[in-house]
C-alpha cells in the first residue's frame, strides 16, 4: 500500500518505532496476577462472598510485533481480561507493565497508556455513535489529545483510505448508512487514529459474514505490517485464531489453561481442555467426524468454581488429586506452558511422569 504523504504519519510523537523504550526483547505488555471479581457481598469479617470470579489470577505477556490469540468458551473471562487491560473496568488486583513501564507509574499515566493501547469492539453498530459522521468518529480521539480539527480530519481521511474506504464517499456518512463490514473497518480506523502500538481485538470479526470476515482479517494483517502493530486477538473461532495468531492463550473459568506457539497448541495440545476445544471444531474430513461430544456439560458456576483444577469436573483424565491440588502454569517445552497436573512430573497424577532424582 502506498503511503500518502501527510503530517499524520511524519509526526514523530505518533511514530510507533520512535516510542519504543525497552528494545525488542522487552515484552510490549506483561500482565501479572490480574484479578477481577464482580458483585458479591462483603461479610462483617471483610470476606467477599458470592462474587463472580470473572478473572482470577491471569498472567501473560505479549511480545513486540506478535499476535496473541485468546480463546475459550463464553464466560471464561476473555472479554473481561481485555477490558481490564484496556482499563475500561478497574482490576481488583494485578499489575500491567507496558514496554517496561508499570501502568500508574510516573512514566506511564493512564492518558499516555491509552494512546498506546486501543481496542476494537465486537458489536460494530453499538460501538459507533449514530449521531456522528464517520470522519468525526475517527477524528474524535486525536481531537481529545489536542490535535487541531483540520489535522484530525486529515488523519481520519488517511485512515479511511488505509482501511479500504474511499474518504470522498464515506467520510460524511453516518453509521446506519454502512454495512457491518464497513462499520468494523471504521472501528479499526478509529482504534488506529491514536497511532497505538497494541490493539486489542475483542471478537472483532465474530459478528461478520464469512466472506467479509476474511477481508477484514486480511486488512488487519496488512495494517499490522504497515504500522508495526501488536495484536491481542480474542476470538472463540479457532480457525480464525490459527490464521491470525503467533501464540495462543487458552482460558478456562478465569484462569489460563495453556499458552504457547499457535502451531504447537493447535496441533498437539497438552491441556485436556485445549484438546477438547480442538476436537469440537467441525472437520472437513468425513472420516474424522466428531462422533461423541468432546466436552459434556456447561462450564461450572464462576461464583463457586471447583476446587483444585477448575477443569476436573469435566476432564476425562481427572483423578482424585485434581480436586485437591491446583496446577500452576508450568513450562512443558520452552515457550509452552500448561496448567495441568498431568504435564507436571511428580505431581501425583497417575498419568504424570515420575520426578527424576537428579531433576530436583
Amino acid at each position: 500500500m502506498t503511503e500518502p504523504a501527510s503530517d499524520a504519519t511524519s509526526d514523530p510523537a505518533f511514530d510507533p518505532a520512535a516510542r519504543d523504550r525497552g528494545g525488542p526483547a522487552q515484552p510490549l505488555l506483561s500482565v501479572t496476577g490480574l484479578v477481577k471479581h464482580f458483585g458479591g457481598r462483603r461479610s462483617w469479617r471483610g470476606e467477599t462472598k458470592g462474587a463472580v470470579r470473572a478473572v482470577d489470577g491471569v498472567d501473560f505477556s505479549i511480545a513486540k510485533g506478535e499476535t496473541l490469540g485468546v480463546v475459550g468458551e463464553s464466560g471464561c473471562g476473555k472479554s473481561t481480561t481485555a477490558r481490564l487491560v484496556m482499563q475500561i473496568i478497574a482490576p481488583d488486583a494485578g499489575e500491567i507493565v507496558f514496554d517496561g513501564e508499570a501502568l500508574g507509574s510516573r512514566a506511564l499515566d493512564l492518558t499516555t497508556y491509552r494512546r498506546e493501547v486501543q481496542m476494537v469492539f465486537q458489536d460494530s453498530y453499538a460501538s459507533l455513535n449514530p449521531r456522528l459522521t464517520v470522519e468525526d468518529t475517527i477524528a474524535f480521539g486525536p481531537r481529545v489529545h489536542g490535535v487541531g480539527r483540520r489535522e484530525a480530519t486529515g488523519r481520519a481521511h488517511d485512515l479511511l483510505f488505509k482501511v479500504g474506504l474511499e474518504p470522498a464517499r464515506f467520510a460524511g456518512r453516518y453509521p446506519h448508512e454502512l454495512s457491518g463490514g464497513q462499520r468494523q473497518r471504521i472501528n479499526i480506523a478509529r482504534a488506529l487514529a491514536l497511532q497505538p502500538r497494541l490493539v486489542i481485538l475483542d471478537e472483532a470479526v465474530s459478528a461478520l459474514d464469512k466472506s467479509v470476515e476474511a477481508q477484514v482479517l486480511n486488512l488487519l494483517l496488512d495494517l499490522k505490517a504497515e504500522f508495526g502493530l501488536t495484536y491481542m486477538f480474542i476470538s472463540h473461532d479457532l480457525n480464525v485464531v490459527r490464521f491470525m495468531a503467533d501464540r495462543v492463550m487458552v482460558m478456562y473459568l478465569g484462569k489460563v489453561a495453556e499458552v504457547g506457539p499457535s502451531d504447537v497448541i493447535l496441533k498437539s495440545p497438552s491441556h485436556p481442555y485445549t484438546a477438547a476445544l480442538l476436537a469440537s471444531m467441525p472437520s472437513m474430513d468425513p472420516d474424522a467426524r466428531t462422533e461423541e461430544a468432546p466436552l459434556f456439560g456447561d462450564p461450572p458456576n464462576p461464583i463457586d468454581p471447583p476446587s483444585g483444577c477448575r477443569f476436573h469436573t469435566r476432564c476425562r483424565f481427572a483423578s482424585a488429586i485434581c480436586a485437591n491440588v491446583e496446577p500452576r502454569l508450568a513450562p512443558v517445552a520452552r515457550p509452552h506452558e500448561v496448567a495441568c497436573l498431568m504435564a507436571q512430573p511428580g505431581s501425583g497424577h497417575p498419568r504424570a511422569a515420575p520426578l527424576r532424582e537428579n531433576a530436583a
Binding site: 500500500m1 502506498t2 503511503e3 500518502p4 504523504a5 501527510s6 484496556m86 482499563q87 475500561i88 493512564l110 492518558t111 491509552r114 494512546r115 486501543q118 481496542m119 469492539f121 458489536d123 453499538a126 460501538s127 459507533l128 455513535n129 449514530p130 449521531r131 456522528l132 459522521t133 470522519e135 468525526d136 468518529t137 474524535f140 480521539g141 481529545v144 489529545h145 483540520r150 480530519t153 486529515g154 481521511h157 488517511d158 483510505f161 479500504g164 474506504l165 474511499e166 474518504p167 470522498a168 467520510a171 460524511g172 456518512r173 453516518y174 446506519h176 454495512s179 463490514g181 464497513q182 472501528n187 478509529r190 487514529a193 491514536l194 467479509v212 477481508q215 486480511n218 486488512l219
Partner: protein
C-alpha cells in the same frame, strides 16, 4: 467494498468535511412532513401562535372594551363573531389575545423544566453512584405529590401572579423530565461507543458533550413537548382558581372561570375558552407523537 481497488487508487487529497445534508434531523423533518396528522397539528399550532403574536392586527376589537348593554351575545351576532362575554367584551378578540398568555404558560415552564431536568438527569445518569442517588431520590420526593396538588400548593405559597405560576409549574415538571433524562442517559452510558470514547482518553465532559447529549436530548425533547399540553391545562387551572393571571387580563383558563356563571344562559360561548385549550393541547400532543415516531426510525 473491494479491498483490491484501493491499492491501485491514488492517495486521496484531504478534503474538508462535506456534510451531505442528510443529517439525522433532516431525516426526522422529512419523515415528519410525510405524517398528515403531525403536519395538521403543526399548522394549527402555527396559526394559533401567529394569531397570538400579531393579535393587535388580527383581533377585530379591543379585548378590554366592555359594554354593559351587549353582554353575553350568542355566537354569530353581527360585530361579535364569537359572541361576547359577561362584560360585553368581544370573545374572538379575547380568545386571540388570550393565546399570548396561555401559550407562554404552556411553553415557558416546560422549556425551563427541559433545561433544568436535562442537566440534572444527564448528570445523574452519567455520573451514577452517589450523585445519582442524591438527585433521583430528591426527585422521587417531588414525584410523591400529584402534579395538580403540587402546582396549586406551590403557587399558593408563592402568591398569585404569572411569574409565580411559571415557577410553580417548572418545579412540577422538573422531576418528570429528570427521570426521563436519567433513564435515557443510563442506557447510552453503557454503549460501546461511550466506552470507546473513554478508551481514547476523553474526559467525562467531552464524552457527555460529544457522545451523550446528541443521543439523549432528542428523546427528552419529545417527552417535554408532550408536557406542553399538561402545562397549559395546569396553568388554566391555576388561573381558574385565581392563582395565575388576574382579571381583566385575557387568558383562557381565567376566561373559563369568569364565564362559568353564564353556562346556562350562553353554554356555547362559555365553552369557547375550553375549546381553545383542548385544540391547542391536543395539537401539541399529536405533534409530539409524530415527532416521536419520526425519530424512532433507525435508517
Amino acid at each position: 467494498m473491494a479491498v483490491t481497488t484501493v491499492d491501485s487508487a491514488p492517495a486521496p487529497a484531504v478534503v474538508p468535511a462535506k456534510k451531505l445534508g442528510r443529517g439525522y434531523w433532516a431525516g426526522v423533518l422529512r419523515r415528519l412532513a410525510r405524517d398528515p396528522v403531525a403536519v395538521t397539528a403543526a399548522v394549527i399550532i402555527l396559526l394559533i401562535v401567529l394569531a397570538a403574536i400579531f393579535a393587535p392586527y388580527v383581533a377585530p376589537a379591543d379585548p378590554y372594551k366592555s359594554s354593559m348593554i351587549r353582554r353575553l351575545r350568542p355566537i354569530g351576532t353581527p360585530g361579535f363573531l364569537l359572541g361576547s362575554d359577561e362584560l360585553g367584551r368581544d370573545m374572538l378578540s379575547r380568545l386571540i389575545y388570550g393565546g399570548r398568555l396561555s401559550l407562554v404558560m404552556g411553553v415557558l415552564p416546560v422549556f425551563c423544566a427541559f433545561a433544568v431536568g436535562s442537566f440534572l438527569g444527564v448528570a445523574a445518569g452519567y455520573a451514577g453512584g452517589w450523585l445519582n442517588t442524591i438527585i433521583m431520590r430528591t426527585v422521587d420526593v417531588f414525584y410523591a405529590f400529584p402534579s395538580v396538588l403540587l402546582a396549586i400548593a406551590l403557587s399558593g405559597t408563592l402568591g398569585a401572579g404569572i411569574l409565580n405560576a411559571i415557577v410553580a409549574l417548572t418545579v412540577v415538571f422538573v422531576p418528570q423530565v429528570t427521570r426521563v433524562a436519567e433513564s435515557v442517559t443510563t442506557q447510552i452510558r453503557n454503549r460501546d461507543y461511550v466506552e470507546a470514547a473513554r478508551v481514547s482518553g476523553a474526559g467525562p465532559f467531552t464524552i457527555v458533550r460529544v457522545h451523550v447529549l446528541g443521543n439523549v436530548l432528542g428523546p427528552i425533547f419529545v417527552y417535554s413537548t408532550s408536557l406542553i399540553s399538561v402545562s397549559m391545562i395546569l396553568a388554566s387551572g391555576l388561573s381558574f382558581l385565581g392563582l395565575g393571571s388576574k382579571p381583566p387580563e385575557p387568558e383562557w383558563g381565567l376566561m373559563l372561570n369568569t364565564l362559568r356563571t353564564a353556562i346556562y344562559t350562553q353554554p356555547m360561548v362559555a365553552a369557547l375558552p375550553g375549546v381553545m385549550i383542548f385544540v391547542t393541547s391536543i395539537s401539541f400532543n399529536l405533534l409530539s407523537d409524530g415527532l416521536r415516531s419520526a425519530m424512532e426510525v433507525k435508517a
